[in-house]
Amino acid sequence: MHFREGEDISDDHHHDHDNHLSDMDAKVRALQTILEEKGLVDPAAVDVVVETYEHKVGPRNGAQVVAKAWVDPEFRASLEKNASAAINSLGFDGRQGEHMHAVFNTPEQHNMVVCTLCSCYPWPVLGLPPVWYKSPPYRSRVVYEPRKVLGEFGVELPEGTKIKVWDSTAELRYLVIPMRPAGSDGMSESELTDLVTRDSMIGTGLALEPEQE
């Protein structure tokens, strides 16, 4: 059950895991060698991919989109109307974010995003998805018991709040715009980005309040 890597804490598990990884390490090295020898893959291109998603593209991008939407009504309106264009205007675009759509949380409605069929996720604004997002427990359950799922993330919504779960079954990629937290009046756009967590943009979290930061 390697999809639940987060709970592999016993010694036995670690032992299994290590053996397993070295096996994969050998297999993947062999594959890379073959593809390089055949002239199909440039090792520098592999490095660019890794460098991009390990260091350049991640949820800080999405946090800038959200903070701007909180302080700039014109940007918020453009995000509602054409999210791809609004997000591109901040310099974020590309693979797995070609067709973006922003969904706005309100006191009446909370939004959550899933891909029940694979692992669709808005890479340009959130980076690569965490293991739980790609794994069977979240993908199977959030569509029918989102409140229970939220509880496992430590989030409890008021009883009357409706929940809409967006299943990314096509090439549209959804970004949740969380509500601006209480007590954040007067904070600058750049300070506000620190309140925007990755999970708040998937819908499994809320934006932090200033004292939680």
Binding site: M24, D42, V48, L117, W132, Y138, S140, T161, T169
Partner: protein, 219 residues
Amino acid sequence: MDGPQDLGGKRNFGPINPEQDEPIFHAEWEKKVLGLTIASNGLGHWSIDEGRFARESLSPQQYYGLSYYEIWYEGVTALLKRHGELTDAELAAGKALQPGLRTNRKVTGEAMPKVLASGGPSERPKSSEPLFSVGQKVRTKLAHPAGHTRLPNYARDKIGVIQALRGVHVFPDTSAHGEGEQPQWLYTVEFDGAALWGPDAEPGLSNTIDAWESYLDPA
């Protein structure tokens, strides 16, 4: 296909267990699998839909037993083999035994940033009028195709409402099988939770899917 990937509404997979301060990768080989997969996609042998179908065609035992990037490894090796770029003998030998085919399509390190930045948009020019409009009631098709589909099991033969028109997009059910893009109108369809899950649905729940026109009938 009703494969192991179609997870919405399934039971007994346990708690979510989010990992605190999760690293982006859990091992060096995971980075390589991501990079090799994206670089191999660039050869242009297969569409994103064929790539997804390769991964969901694993047996349930494999799909549920392997980690995410192990599934990707299985997927990319299957695709490379299917398109003549890799053989089992080469994997066993750990070296190339015959020349690559699409070496002229190799993505260089210099070109990769542009490949990542431009992505692969699925929207195509509108060539027909949409059959449905916002607010219209629709019923999703009842079908269990053997090939690729993006209509999840939990949302088949259900009544929902068109919430938005999303333009004309490549149809995955044909694109996955080398049958062309055959673009169709794409809609966001919203369902009342109880329409999908019955009277025990969590109160206030609604679900959406993005559905191609041929997945829908007027209700």
